[in-house]
Amino acid sequence: MDALRGEIRRAVRARESVLARSLRAELRRAEHSWQQELTARDSAPVEEHGAGPEDRHDAPGTGRAQTGRSAPDTSDEPAPHTLSDEPAPHALGDGPATHALGDRAASRALGGGGAPGARGGAAAGVWRARVVRPGATGREGASPAGVREQVCQALTLIGVPAAARVVVALNAALGAAPLRSAQIAVLRRDEERSFRAAPHARPYYMCAALTDRLSAARGLLALSTWPLERRAVGPLSPRVDFLITAIRLAEHLARMAEAGERPSPAAHRLLSRLAHNIPGIGERQGTSNGYPRTRHGPGGRTERDADGPVPGGRAGRVPGARGQGTTPGPTTASWPAAGVQADMSWPVSDGEPDRFAAGSDGPDPAAVVRAARAELEVHAAGDAAARAEIARRAREALPEAGRLFGVATTTRAARRPR
């Protein structure tokens, strides 16, 4: 395919448009059959277990690059390939490349081998299925039951409510067959319908987390086997659950390492991303977190001035932004406007996260656990109290279905989280 692509480029350069067109068609055919191949592999991961991990990893990895690069030829969206070459956030959802496609096979192929940023995720998934799967039942493949199983597995690992994006990422990190957020949304509605039709027909349900208004928290998934306190979401709960997610994932990776298994790049990448947002991990590894131009580092001001004038505002102001507001000129903004040059205020990262992302080892799981626990301690008591209060009210006010799925969930189900 690379040879074909080279030909096309040459042809275009020489303005041989007819030749280029026919070459392109050929390339597309080649890619199409390649994708079909990929889809076939995807849906039958179990049969692939014979070969060594390296092979697996290579194949879909190449696929990513190719499907990614082919995008500009076949669609109007210029970016998928740009994004796919980054440590992209899209790893967490179906990236722009996937959900734009109506064609199931194509989106599966992209989602499997080529989702931007999922680099190696699916690949790793295929081989790691062997490593991780035995605990779960691998036989359903990507059937609705399989999706349900996978979602449950991801939730069980972290033990706290999570957004679909997070479930998708965890699932990839666990090395299971790729999931899409849309599948999860369907599943969620299905669970509620099933419970309301025949309560307790299943041993567990995927259900809602409850807000303090006792409605289903937007976008969060939980398991019915958890105590209500865990499914209640107070103001600090998103943070607490985020920290717990990081701890559980780190512990899981540590366990794998102990057992002599190599965690997947997707798992490392996810842990890196979580770790990046937990204070105390970057510094421990000897880097400031790349905001040298602010007057104080992170955590520099741990007490807030009770009612002093402009706490934070001034102190945190980045030099360079100051005074721009008074620059005369009718149309320029006070900031990043043309006049601001090299000493611009934008904090420049020193690349620490990239080191995480690119490095094969990622952050040290033990360090992540320590740092996350340290912050968790700060929030734990307040969060537990708020959750207990919500749970108490839910027990008093709601029938069982309401406790599981929240009040007014039917209208909510139709709404997409913004």
């Binding site: 103001p235 945190g316 903004a333 990043p336 990262s349 996260p353």
Partner: protein, 382 residues
């Protein structure tokens, strides 16, 4: 003018504005539109059209000059994806940025989704909810939450209330509210595209104003809303969010002035011909029934003040540009040139003054001297 008179006067205004708009409902203002008010405050045409709640986009389309806006679906996808990234897991990325940028203490990590109140509530309900919770936050002092996502704010614009649904987070720290605005244009080596950054600052100013207004209505000090907004953008193509503080005081002042001007739009309206209307009432086929030529005359009756940055802020820009070009107006050359050429209305006139083929009129002597000088210098150089 006593109070009753003022009220009466206002009602007359509203009535007149309704007639200007014709038989279609007023178009609600969104933050982008409001922000754009601050972009070209001197334009009477836009003041009148906006005050009357006229759909400028539809007007421009009917005139045959559809607006160049509308983001590509890809840009929207990218914007949403970036926002989702920043807000994921209780705004984990945003918390990190705020801790780094403002020294937000670790303990302050509460996240409240003001938009998530169950069911499918109306804007009115959601606004009430936002008010209640932010009121509580403002009163609670130390026990208050920190991040408030999806606030639904309201701003009174020329007698109509516009609901603003910012994709921003209001963030409370040390007793002060900050507006966080998440934008998906990239900041590369510390530089953002100036017009995008400027637009973001203007838009953030709208939210700051709306939040200040809300606090004031609730009996709190509006000064508790910081005029430094936190702008979050992806950095260096990497989609990794970075944050900076942007001072929007100037944008805020312009916006205030412009909004006040819109409530006083009566004087502008009074000067217009009595029967004037920009009615866009659709005919049977759904498109405005009125002949475009008639609408064109109506729009032309209100004076415009075209400037090149209209191209990024006003739906009518192509129409006004065309008009300015037809008149050889110096407006086309941008504000600075226009101001420098004060008193010289057209390009032809300026050229005439420069090569001496045209005698300067009264008050034009100085600019004519400068133009001739420039012409000589230019001749020597070329």
């Amino acid at each position: 003018m006593n109070k009753d008179e003022a009220k009466e006067r206002r009602e007359v205004d509203l009535d007149r504005l309704d007639r200007l708009r014709g038989a279609v409902p007023p178009r609600p203002h969104d933050a982008r539109a409001i922000a754009a008010l601050a972009a070209n405050p001197g334009c009477a045409r836009r003041s009148v059209l906006d005050a009357a709640g006229i759909d400028k986009d539809a007007t421009a389309t009917h005139l045959g000059f559809p607006a160049p806006f509308g983001r590509s679906p890809f840009a929207i996808t990218r914007g949403n994806a970036f926002e989702a990234l920043v807000k994921e897991s209780g705004c984990a990325e945003l918390l990190r940025l705020l801790r780094e940028l403002l020294g937000l203490p670790v303990a302050e990590a509460a996240y409240t989704d003001l938009g998530d109140i169950g069911g499918d509530p109306s804007a009115h309900l959601r606004h009430a909810h936002t008010r209640t919770l932010l009121d509580r936050a403002a009163r609670d002092g130390a026990g208050a939450g920190t991040l408030y996502d999806h606030p639904l704010l309201r701003l009174e614009i020329a007698g109509q209330s516009a609901y603003l649904e910012p994709d921003v987070v209001a963030f409370l720290h040390g007793g002060r509210f900050h507006i966080v605005e998440i934008k998906s244009f990239a900041v590369i080596d510390g530089q953002a595209e100036p017009d995008k950054a400027a637009a973001a600052a203007r838009q953030a100013a709208v939210y700051v104003l709306a939040l200040k207004t809300m606090l004031e209505e609730l009996g709190h000090d509006p000064g508790r809303v910081a005029h430094d907004v936190v702008l979050v953008c992806p950095e260096n193509f990497a989609n990794r969010p970075a944050a900076a503080l942007v001072d929007v005081r100037r944008q805020l002042a312009v916006l205030r002035r412009q909004l006040a001007r819109m409530t006083r739009v009566g004087t502008l309206v009074d000067a217009l011909p009595p029967g004037l209307t920009f009615d866009l009432a659709p005919g049977d086929d759904g498109v405005p029934g009125r002949p475009a030529a008639e609408l064109r005359e109506a729009v032309r009756a209100v004076e415009a003040r075209y400037a090149p940055d209209c191209l990024s802020t006003c739906d009518l820009c192509f129409f006004c540009r065309d008009e300015a070009a037809g008149q050889e107006s110096t407006d086309l050359l941008g504000r600075q040139v226009r101001d420098a050429l004060g008193g010289v209305a057209t390009v032809g006139e300026a050229l005439g003054l420069a090569d001496g083929s045209r005698e300067p009129g009264e008050g034009q002597e100085e600019i004519a001297r400068l133009l001739r000088l420039a012409d000589r210098m230019y001749a020597e150089l070329s």
